[in-house]
């Protein structure tokens, strides 16, 4: 029998395989890609015993339907509060469960958030390209064939740690409940291309996420910013979260699929700890920026790293609205067990 695999039954347009990203090739123009919400991606991976940066499925607003083949597949789902159904029964996220062959798992966008992650115990046996499975559709790198996942795709699992059957359980991951009203930034590297009062206005006025946003850039709508001098700079490097201000004055936040270099002034950079929650904004959502110093940004980053250093706890679902044959299929474990301990 072949190794267990996940079969994509249906996939919305924005569904891709992402690991922690492609590193070491930015200098050749190769984008890093990687998850839009790295904290949620890592949480899903860790909950099924994978390395934090292992290959997982990033599901966009278009949703995803999955089935297990050639054996059961233990999955964790974390990220935006998508509506998850197992054979039509709604389950709360973040969660972990074992998907049996023949069962139907579906994720649909919920009321908020933009990206949800599906990690499989053992991850996927997807061949890396330049050291990474991260999909960058614009350059056709990573994933199965450089593109998004589509109906019919088959994802064989990697070397599976035998976790056995895992009762559907809610993951306890309070670090994923993050503010979406304030996005913290470190000013620079080109804030001196703007008058002080323009920088002040950048930090105080509300911004709204444009519907033209994608994995490459989040476009912002609001009162345009004016440059003190020119807006064409000689191209330099672009960090994840860099906020470019092109000539028209509306900022573009450079996200996971950004080009490694670019030629517009960057007024500020979203701090790493807020990149994931910022990525989860829906078009039309409003927020403000707040400037912090490097020490604050590093402390926030450390806080998230420490949260992920502990096992992800889980509590089995106790449901009374499920049919008895469904309940009989569940192994209801009392109490809280570590995600990395063998499941009972």
């Amino acid at each position: 029998m072949s190794a267990p695999a996940l079969r994509i039954v249906a996939a919305g347009p924005g569904t891709t395989i992402q690991d922690s990203g492609r590193h070491g090739y930015l200098r050749f123009g190769v984008t890093g890609a990687g998850p839009m919400d790295a904290l949620a991606h890592a949480t899903a991976n860790l909950a099924v015993g994978n390395a934090a940066g292992a290959s997982a499925i990033e599901v966009g607003l278009g949703g995803l339907s999955l089935a297990a083949e050639d054996g059961p597949v233990t999955l964790a789902i974390a990220g935006a509060p998508f509506t998850v159904t197992l054979d039509g029964q709604k389950l709360e996220t973040p969660l972990v469960l074992t998907l049996e062959p023949g069962a139907a798992l579906a994720l649909r966008a919920g009321p908020t958030g933009a990206w949800c992650y599906v990690a499989a115990a053992g991850s996927f046996a997807t061949a890396p390209v330049l050291g990474s499975t991260a999909t960058h559709t614009r350059s056709g790198l990573g994933g199965l064939d450089g593109g998004p996942l589509k109906a019919g795709d088959r994802l064989p699992l990697g070397a599976t740690a035998d976790l056995g059957h895992t009762a559907p359980s809610r993951l306890i991951a309070p670090w994923l409940e993050r503010s979406r009203d304030v996005v913290r930034v470190v000013l620079g590297p080109q804030d001196d291309f703007f008058a002080p009062e323009v920088v002040e206005r950048f930090l105080t006025q509300p911004w709204t996420l444009s519907g033209r946003s994608d994995r490459m850039g989040y476009l912002l709508e609001g009162e345009p910013l004016t440059h003190a001098g020119g807006f064409n700079i000689v191209s330099d490097g672009i960090a994840h979260g860099a906020i470019q201000v092109p000539g028209e004055g509306l900022p573009i936040v450079q996200m996971a699929d950004r080009a490694p270099t670019g030629g517009y002034p960057k007024i500020a950079t979203v701090i790493g700890a807020d990149l994931g929650s910022f990525a989860q904004l829906r078009p039309g959502a409003s927020f403000r920026f707040a400037a912090v110093d490097i020490a604050t940004a590093v402390a926030a980053r450390r806080g998230q790293a420490e949260a992920l250093a502990r096992p992800v706890e889980r509590v089995p679902f106790i449901r009374t609205d499920l049919p008895s044959d469904f309940l009989l299929g569940l192994n209801l474990v009392g109490g809280v067990v570590s995600a990395t301990a063998p499941a009972t």
């Binding site: 050749f28 123009g29 000689v234 330099d236 490097i294």
Partner: protein, 241 residues
Amino acid sequence: MPAPRLLDAGETALVAEFGNEVDPVLSDRVLALDAAVTARALPGVRESVPTYRSLMIHYDPLVIDRATLAAEVTALAQAAPAEGRRGALWTIPCCYDPEFGEDIATIAATTGLPPDEVVALHSSARYRLYMYGFAPGFCYLGGLPDVFAKVSRRLKPRPPHPPNVVMMAGGLASIATVSMPTGWFLVGRTPERMFSLTRTPTVLLDVGDELMFEPIDRATFDALEARAAAGEVVARREVQP
């Protein structure tokens, strides 16, 4: 060499900026610091990205703090030689046939040069690979003859160009490997792949290398294209005196 200005691009990237221009002297400094940072292999430094005028150093601030990195970079810049290493010289075959050089007529009209002269000037200049960026293997080249400075960018990007095109815009030249929409003007097409996942090496040229374009006719292009498609390197690395 002179100390670079250090700028923060968030808490995970430090920019060492040597100036604001496209200038081989600045580029030499960038590349010297890039070599020194790479050789130093500090724990927590993930990768560095050389550009025309600056080096972006991506780092993990939970492994190396900003102050330590800044002190290291400043010391490395002071110790680095201001003279860059001598780059290799490459000859890149380029077919300027109208089918490939679809914007030569526009460039001729903009500059007042006959189309033949556009090709003659473009293929007699010596270019420097200042940086990669934008897309895999996208080469930003300096050294475009001044007469082409009048050629700005397209007002609107054109739909995705074919792979392996040679372009100009804003006083710069470029070679684009991956098909993308572009604001640049197409001058010709090379059979060479500046980036190929199915060939070793993946990337042919180092930043700081120089190159010239060698005009080839359509029949030669087709022959070289077939060889390049099979994984052969069809650009020539010249032996410099």
